[in-house]
Amino acid sequence: MKSIKELEAIRERALKEISVRENENKTRIVVGMATCGIAAGARPVMNAFVEELNKRNIHTVNVTMTGCVGICRFEPIAEIVDANGEKTTYVKLDAEKARRIVAEHIVNGRPVLEFTIGAAEK
């Protein structure tokens, strides 16, 4: 260790690794992972969320799982809950859609309306 900069670099890196243990004031992506969700392909969707967030160096979002919401025909489902508790529900997802949601909703703050439950019900 030759300088404080080095220490700070390690600190930044390590903070990212443990950011999952911090859950206050963070946006959550909640993926439905009951039997129906998993059968419909929720696992690759969840992994895509994790990977994409990671790739974009976003550590203010936690990816968590939940059980069956009761609308199994729309699986895989993911809800994005922002720090204020506002929810957006995305349905019939796949890995590609998940990556777009990260890019547009999380990064740019624009919900991908075409994937939401409102769009699917029309």
């Binding site: 243990r21 959550r28 998993i38 990816v63």
Partner: protein, 596 residues
């Protein structure tokens, strides 16, 4: 590598003893089986403090805290929580119906009253990973001290913080550092007293196991402040997990150049080595500890000269306790003003207590100084089991004394405990209820001192033994009233004449129980009765005729044939034959046998 979920498993000594290593293995195997071992990370942490409810497991990002987890619970946790995201409610700690499980750990009464400074990282980070310590501001204080502060500024800051030694006596830490800094010498040493020996105390062990780097960082800061380049941690060999984690921590700190030459590019160099103690209680005494590090038999010597002038290998030495060190990086990072806001006027900051005995939440708690004993026992400790009445709390181990129920609202700090005839000590807090006999307690602690006396000075070697014999006589029902007076005279003489702290404080458990529970001593010597029903020699087993159904079970079980009686008629116990083994009382299905 980023994982979507972290599973924190307590790997402190308590939870390891209740098989947390097996849980970790089972978990790892199942994660691989389910193909989610690349998504979920297992993190072994230090003690959460809730040893009573161990093994403890916390799963993030939900923050769900599971208690008393066993290997057979692991499949359910993996399949439900980690695969499907459904929290396993029946394993949750605390309120099982709580909606908001995300904050369950902080919401448990056990944690909400605490303020964790020394234990800040215990149960939070993986102690075997230096990066996690750095993420939680680790080594920042060292960086600040080495690059921005002069040694005397560090000492000045510590003096202003009001931090007092957490090993027991409560000597101001800043002053101790100043003495060591002012001492003349070509070579100086920094030592850490990790020879925790009070029965029931395990604070230092938990800090070393859960956050070893905080001690290394503080010792390095101390080295800079007093002008030393070598540190020794004297830790007992009976703490294998602590020793292992310290070794890992020292290795990692060396790899990062946080120990070694030219730390942070300055011309300051510092190294730390471990010295393992063989478990003699007296080696927790500073001069005995240093004698032991030197390779000699651990015996104390007279002071002065104090270690700051002539310590390890005859050189000026600074010796602090583990918990004292663990506080220092935070004080430097947050400033003495912040530290001053916590605690009481003369005792700043917090104190860690290992709470044990007759209490629901056995474990480790860190409270601001000035918290009352009542809050510790009833709000954090969860009260006394089985609805029993609180009788007294013992602090300070074999050197301390009892705080009786009448003083339960005393704020806990160095001075108020001293006034009560007890002491802060290293932080053991043993809770006693109405079933504890105070004479027996005093005898227990004295027996410990007799065993652990090094034998160098006669007051301790012979005096404590004589005191023990008198106490034994009293508990056997052979005591006389003059014995109490003899105890007091002897206690006074030992206090005045013993060589080291061990001997000088050894009579304290007797003196403090005599002060608050003299009537119990008198009951033993005058009436030959043990009011709490503990001292076997003073008990009699009797049959309550109205309750006895004459089932003959007790008579069959009695190993000496002391019970007689006809079938279906009340039995009786022959006191002259009875050996007071208690088998009859356990055997009786009608609660017809009692002691009196």
């Amino acid at each position: 590598m980023i994982y979507r979920s972290h599973v924190l498993i307590c790997a402190g000594t308590g939870c390891t003893a209740s098989k947390s290593t097996d849980i970790e293995e089972a978990l790892h195997k199942l994660l691989v089986e389910h193909g989610i071992d690349k998504e979920v990370k297992i993190v072994k942490t230090g003690c959460f403090g809730l040893c009573e409810k161990g093994p403890i497991m916390v799963i993030y990002p939900e923050g769900a805290t599971y208690s008393r987890v066993s290997v057979k619970d692991v499949p359910e946790i993996v399949e439900e929580h980690l695969v499907k995201g459904r929290i396993v409610k029946h394993l949750l700690l605390g309120d099982k119906d709580a909606e908001d499980v995300a904050k369950s750990l902080e919401n448990v009464g056990f944690f909400s009253k605490q303020k964790r400074i020394a234990l800040r990282n215990c149960g939070v980070i993986n102690p075997e990973n230096i990066d996690e310590y750095i993420a939680h501001d680790g080594y920042r204080a060292l960086a600040k001290v080495l690059t921005e502060m002069e040694p005397n500024e560090v000492i000045d800051l510590l003096k202003k913080s009001g931090l007092r030694g957490r090993g027991g006596a409560g000597f101001p830490a800043g002053l101790k550092w100043q003495f060591a800094a002012q001492a003349e010498g070509d070579q100086k040493y920094v030592c850490c007293n990790a020879d925790e020996g009070d029965p029931g105390a395990f604070m230092d062990r938990s800090v070393l196991e859960g956050d070893p780097h905080s001690v290394l960082e503080a010792m390095t800061i101390a080295g800079y402040a007093i002008g030393a380049d070598q540190g020794y941690i004297y830790v007992r060999a009976e703490y294998p997990i602590a020793v292992e984690r310290l070794n890992i921590a020292i290795r990692q700190a060396r790899e990062y150049g946080l120990l070694g030459d030219n730390i942070f590019g300055t011309d300051f160099s510092f190294n730390i080595d471990l010295r393992l103690g063989a478990g003699a209680f007296v080696c927790g005494e500073e001069t005995a500890l240093m004698t032991s590090i030197e390779g000699h038999r651990g015996e104390p010597r007279t002071r002065p000269p104090f270690p700051a002038v002539k310590g390890l290998f005859g050189k000026p030495t600074l010796l602090n306790n583990v918990e004292t060190y663990a506080n220092i990086p935070v004080i430097i990072n947050k400033g003495y003003e912040w530290f001053n806001t916590i605690g009481t006027e003369k005792s700043k900051g917090t104190k860690v207590f290992a709470v044990g005995g007759k209490i629901n939440n056995t474990g480790l708690v860190e409270i601001p100084m000035g918290t009352t004993l009542r809050e510790v026992i009833y709000e954090i400790g969860g009260g006394i089991p089985n609805g029993k009445k609180f009788k007294a709390a013992q602090t300070g181990g074999p050197s301390g004394g009892c705080i009786p129920a009448s003083h339960i609202d005393t704020p806990i700090d160095y001075d108020s405990l001293n006034e009560l005839g007890s002491m802060m000590g290293s932080g053991g807090l043993i809770v006693m209820d109405e079933d504890n006999c105070m004479v027996d307690i005093a005898k227990f602690f004295l027996e410990f001192t007799v065993d652990e006396s090094c034998g160098k000075c006669p007051p301790c070697r012979i005096g404590t033994k004589r005191m023990y014999e008198i106490l034994d006589k009293i508990t056997q029902g052979k005591g006389e009233e003059s014995d109490i007076e003899k105890l007091e005279i002897l206690a006074d003489n030992i206090k005045k004449s013993a060589l080291c702290g061990l001997g000088q404080t050894a009579p304290n458990p007797v003196l403090s129980t005599l002060r608050y529970f003299r009537d119990e001593y008198l009951a033993h010597v005058r009436d030959k009765k043990c009011p709490a029903g503990v001292c076997k020699a003073l008990l009699q087993y009797v049959v309550i005729a109205e309750k006895c159904k004459g089932c003959t079970l007790c008579a069959k079980k009695c190993p000496v044939g002391a019970i007689s009686g006809e079938v279906r008629k009340p039995h009786s116990i022959d006191v002259s034959k009875c050996i007071k083994c208690g088998v009859c009382m356990e055997a009786c299905k009608f609660d017809a046998i009692i002691t009196q």
